[in-house]
Amino acid sequence: MVDVMAPRAGQKTDGAIVARGLVKHYGKVHALDGVDLDVPEGTVLGLLGPNGAGKTTAVRVFTTLLKPDAGTATVAGLDVVRDADEVRRIIGVSGQYAAVDENLTGRENLDMVGRLYHLGKSVSLARADELLERFDLVEAANRVVKTYSGGMRRRLDLAGSLVAKPRVLFLDEPTTGLDPRGRLGMWDVIEELVDGGTTLLLTTQYLEEADRLAQSIVVIDHGKVIARGTADELKSQIGGERLELTVSTASELPATEEVLRKVGLGEPTIDAGAKAASVAVQGGSAVLIDALRQLDSAGVVVKDVGIRRPTLDDVFLSLTGHAAEDAVDPSAADAKAGRQGRQSRKEKQS
């Protein structure tokens, strides 16, 4: 398995998961419309987008379930169309709908998958037990899956995708439909996997999820990449940080405004009724300390202060809320992100 991870001679692909110009049409619907992706080995990419954005289609192409109409997709340097059999040996996939057999027990499900990977009886059963343990399903191991809760089915499905210890894992909306507790549990499990060095492509509609689990994020909509970067980069892309504070009396506001003008970028915003002021800043806590020091020497009593950064939700809305024509140019998004010092992404524009 280790050998397979090495890219083949003559194929220059450094990412464990790579897509170039991926296209898939269903009639007039462009499920994928020229998608480029790069997931370096051992990292997590969050593929973010609304329903019908093309996330699942992308996963299905990478996991050999679907042939792209154009473009190429490789996993560990192996082409998903030409080398489909080899790709299947090294990947794990867990989908939106738990693909488990309801009439088998949890243990039987995992053993079945192990046999289909040709692990052999004893290895397969040992692996099944190991996974049941890890996914907290030991007590339910010999119960038919029909009796499982949604969260348990998902965990079993994920366990099934890990039977052959894949180095590259695809999780398609792993927490959709789970209750908050189930979601937190799933996150813990995924984080553990990633700590173990698994390369992961994760699709999600939840920004919180991408924020927590993924090192880099690609936002797609209507089959096109509309933004990419780390969560921080995407957040600063739509406006950066703001220093926000509340003072004790309205009479302190003019002095506050003066200080904020000095430490911030551009004009401060003053809300006299709320006795609040804010300004765009760059530099995080250093700016905060500087501002507090100056306010203190100006005799202003600050009741509440903080640096507010836009959430990924803000990013998402501002990106997908745009008219499609304005928002869908991936090179524009890249160029913008590139200005913020992301050398690594620059080669993509060429």
């Binding site: 990947i91 738990a98 046999r115």
Partner: protein
């Protein structure tokens, strides 16, 4: 591992999975058995008095026909099973595994054949109770069963192709069965073909179902007096029946495997 070994072992893993379901939900098998038993009783006692095939008791004449009809209908559940796997998404799991592309189909058709064998045992006992007898010894009788099971297995692959085409359990439940009504009734299964209108006799005599029924009848020794001028398939029913089964397998195994490869690829 050679391709064939892998196809076999993977197919067995799949068959085991399907049989565990039969074990867990025995009602399924119980009801698929009750229906043919009911048919045996209804045909034997309701039609038995009205139909008089020359030289043989109708109940003896009937059994080969009803056996064949039952295993043919039994094969139709292959379509339902596969449509169910597609609908539930588990086919996607299998298609993402490095397993033989034929395994899901081999497993399904094999486990459905097992169901047919169980049903056949129950029906045979029921037949013996209402007066059916084997006249030519165990060897020929076993060959009769082989001929019928081969045909059932072949029809299972036809059914697999249907199931992978319709992709929904509800549609498979009707699409898998309706074509079997004309195919099994326009034959010698329940009445001697001599009683049919002329053009229908032609259809019935060349119908693969007729060949299987005639073969079983001949091997069980339930034939009675036969018409003098019969077309070739009816004078060589065993070889014709096996030939039909082989032909169906040759066409529908590759066809359904191709369908399977494309099934989830949408």
């Amino acid at each position: 591992m050679s391709v064939l070994t892998q196809a076999t072992t993977d197919g067995l893993v799949m068959a085991k999975r399907n049989l565990i379901k039969v074990k867990r939900i025995p009602d399924l098998l119980i009801f698929t058995t009750i229906q043919p038993v009911m048919f045996v009783l209804l045909f034997a006692y309701v039609f038995g008095g009205a139909i008089h095939p020359p030289g043989v008791n109708y109940r003896e004449f009937l059994m080969a026909g009803i056996f064949t009809q039952t295993v043919a209908f039994g094969s139709a559940i292959t379509a339902i099973g596969l449509a169910d796997d597609i609908q539930k998404g588990i086919i996607d799991r299998f298609r993402s595994l490095p397993m033989a592309r034929s395994a899901v189909l081999v497993g399904r058709t094999t486990s459905d054949l097992f169901n047919n064998v169980v049903v056949m045992v129950v029906m045979s006992l029921c037949g013996l109770i209402v007066g059916w007898r084997i006249h030519r010894g165990v060897g020929y009788a076993l060959l009769a069963y082989v001929v019928m099971f081969a045909f059932a297995f072949a029809l299972s692959w036809v059914s697999a192709t249907i199931g992978l085409t319709v992709r929904s359990v509800e549609v498979a439940q009707s699409a898998g069965f309706i074509w079997l009504f004309p195919v099994t009734f326009l034959s010698n299964a329940f009445v001697p073909t001599g009683t049919l209108p002329g053009w229908l006799q032609g259809v019935a005599n060349w119908n693969p179902v007729s060949a299987v029924v005639a073969a079983a009848r001949e091997l069980f020794g339930n034939t009675g007096v036969v018409e003098k001028h019969r077309p070739w398939p009816m004078t060589h029913p065993v070889i014709t029946a096996l030939g039909w089964s082989a032909l169906l397998l040759l066409v529908f195994i590759p066809l359904s495997v191709r369908k399977y490869r494309a099934a989830a690829a949408r």
